[in-house]
Symmetry: C2
Subunit: 192 residues, 2 copies
């Protein structure tokens, strides 16, 4: 029913064809315009979301309107606010589309049902949590220890496919540097 998602599961898990059909059948497709959100700060995160196409971001917004980006989620990745989802408490972050996107969404009840009944899906979920933990730790270490230049270099190495798809202000908001600093770094790279 959702061929791209089914290909993703075939590639990343040991799910049987029956299990893939089951997981896929419980998803709802949602088409997002650019800047459309799937979660607003203050609301409860009620869904697990898989990005079929496009690009989303998880971000916090300060009182002055500035944006601080926790995560980019391109096609073939998952997103949610895990604390809000687990505790069913209001989220402090927003999730919205950077590009026109298609996402699949599962309610928490349905997804928990799937996790109990499809062990290979639970394995995938645990692997995704682990990868997220590894990356969070690496990112915090880089944020604490590296210069703005080094953080930008690290970003380029890690997300080469995102670079051309992101406005500079969002890369700056992910790295925790000003747009002015990022522009200076890029200019220095181009002219060196």
């Amino acid at each position: 029913m959702h061929p791209q998602f089914e290909t993703y599961l075939q590639t990343h898990t040991n799910l049987t064809a029956n299990d893939i059909a089951l997981v896929s059948s419980m998803a709802t497709l949602r088409v997002l315009k650019r800047n459309e959100s799937v979660l607003d700060a203050g609301d409860i995160c009620k869904h697990k979301t898989f990005v079929v196409s496009g690009l989303l971001r998880n971000y916090g917004a300060s009182a002055d309107g500035s944006e601080h980006i926790l995560r980019f989620s391109p096609e073939n990745s998952w997103t949610l606010d895990v604390e809000s989802y687990d505790k069913q408490e209001p989220s402090v972050i927003n999730i919205s589309a950077i590009e026109p996107s298609q996402v699949l969404m599962w309610s928490k009840t349905d997804f928990q049902h799937l996790l109990v009944n499809v062990p290979a899906l639970k394995e995938l979920a645990e692997q995704l949590i682990a990868n997220n933990t590894y990356y969070s730790s690496q990112r915090m270490l880089t944020t604490l220890s590296a210069s703005a230049e080094e953080r930008y270099e690290d970003f380029i190495q890690r997300f080469p496919n995102l670079l051309a798809r992101l406005p500079l202000r969002m890369i700056a908001a992910y790295l925790g540097i000003s747009l002015k600093t990022l522009t200076r770094i890029r200019h220095a790279q181009l002219t060196r």
Copy 2:
């Protein structure tokens, strides 16, 4: 055999007395001097570690000798380098004692055996991973969005019991600010 750890399990889990005795029996007690390490960068993290008393830190060291702190682990908390432990690959971080400490350690083989055989221990492990995920996300958002003053205030609120036990340079290394900036912030607070 390790009364303080057994009290911790009684308080934080639904483990039976038999299970508590089993988990406890597979731990090895290690006594650490101040600055003694349980993991050095480049080595493989082979143990889950529970801090019975004292205080440890997880940190990365830059080529210039500066230190960047990922985590403080006081009594009644757990520590490891999760990526090195999971993958059995060399760690990029160090774990060492800030105060004279006593820790309990389980080999990966033994701990995995316990996780399979003691479901309530697996629940505890999953809860600790989740709490760590929530906090990592909050910390990253604070690091990206808040001023040095706000980050210090947040640290005080979150870890009131650690404040008097930590040298200022370590608080600065955790917040990602210079010792000079931290000293200025504290001075401004005292005189306001």
